[in-house]
Symmetry: C2
Subunit: 167 residues, 2 copies
DNA sequence: TAGACAAGTTAGCCTTGTCTAACTTTTGAT
DNA sequence: ATCAAAAGTTAGACAAGGCTAACTTGTCTA
């Protein structure tokens, strides 16, 4: 069969599979995908605890738009992974680790949402898109989003000011 | 048990499950998630066909960073869904529908990437993030991204020009 | 024109995430 | 204090997406 001679030479990697730059991106995205649900859950659990004092499976199910058994199974996994603790028939608590993750997720969520709004998007669409995008935003991108959102109100003013000054 | 009286009254929906606005977002995101892989595959297949004249499973596997059996199984699904056609031991072709989807995906991918770059992100990170974000961008958001990317080079100039003119 | 080796397939395993159906526990109203 | 309804759990089905191992097919090269 044809040798792939139309491809740049790839350095031998410590890993088994050769990784071209494209594959790196895909592998990274798949990794992010595996954490999405956990992130949404802990974020939601933190919100529920804050808003109602406790996070009950029934409320998680409602907010997530899934059935109770689905929530139960997912919570079992989160407990296995050390993000939450729970006892039978009782509501759910975040571990230290879970709280940390929740905080980080809430932070990212907020920045992405503010960014989309500052771009001129309507609230409903912004919330929808933020809910998906937040899991695929690197730290660098997040920083740029934050800067843009923060600056967007004064941007016009500042730029104009600078233009006038530099005139 | 407590009635959820702390929640806005929800109109009775034609659907079974009550959907608060939060759930709508999560449900939407999950729907988008189910198409991610198909989108990446058809986009990649189109690229391979364009670049090499054919899309072979081995190249798909390399670019996606997965093993050959994984590709085989996914291709079977795509064929079942009418996005590609294939014959045993032969390379893969896009159906009309597949081509349409590929085109749409490439379009979105391109806009998201240009947008991230115009925001000041480095190419490598932009490509990584775009690969994930592209699947969670609504038409509205995409339009804003495109406008921003298109305008970003002339923006400064234009704004300053306007500022000067309106002075 | 053989064969060796690359590419492709098949079978089977695992985990995640979703569901329905049926059972158990908790709890609020009477 | 009772007990019905709400909440929670358990069991089991199913599809997707990943893997390894082992087999089959195609093709380049000697
Ligand atoms: Mn989310
Ligand atoms: Mn979120
Ligand atoms: Mn992608
Ligand atoms: Mn893409």
């Amino acid at each position: 069969m044809k040798k792939n001679d139309n491809q740049e030479v790839e350095a031998v990697m410590p890993d088994e599979r050769a990784v071209d730059s494209r594959a790196e991106a895909f592998v990274g995205v798949r990794a992010a995908r595996r954490n999405e649900l956990a992130e949404d859950y802990v974020e939601l659990i933190a919100e529920l605890i804050y808003a109602k004092g406790e996070a009950r499976p029934v409320d998680i199910a409602t907010k997530m738009g899934v059935t109770a058994p689905t929530v139960a199974k997912t919570l079992d996994r989160l407990a296995r992974e050390g993000l939450i603790t729970r006892a039978k028939y009782r509501s759910v608590f975040l571990t230290e680790e879970g709280r940390a993750l929740a905080k980080e997720c809430r932070h990212r969520h907020e920045i992405v949402l503010r960014f989309l709004l500052s771009l001129g998007l309507d609230l409903e669409t912004a919330e929808r898109d933020a809910e998906g995008i937040e899991h695929h935003v690197s730290d660098r991108t997040l920083a740029l989003f934050a800067a843009f959102a923060d600056g967007s109100r004064v941007d016009r003013r500042n730029l104009m000011g600078e233009a006038l000054r530099s005139n």
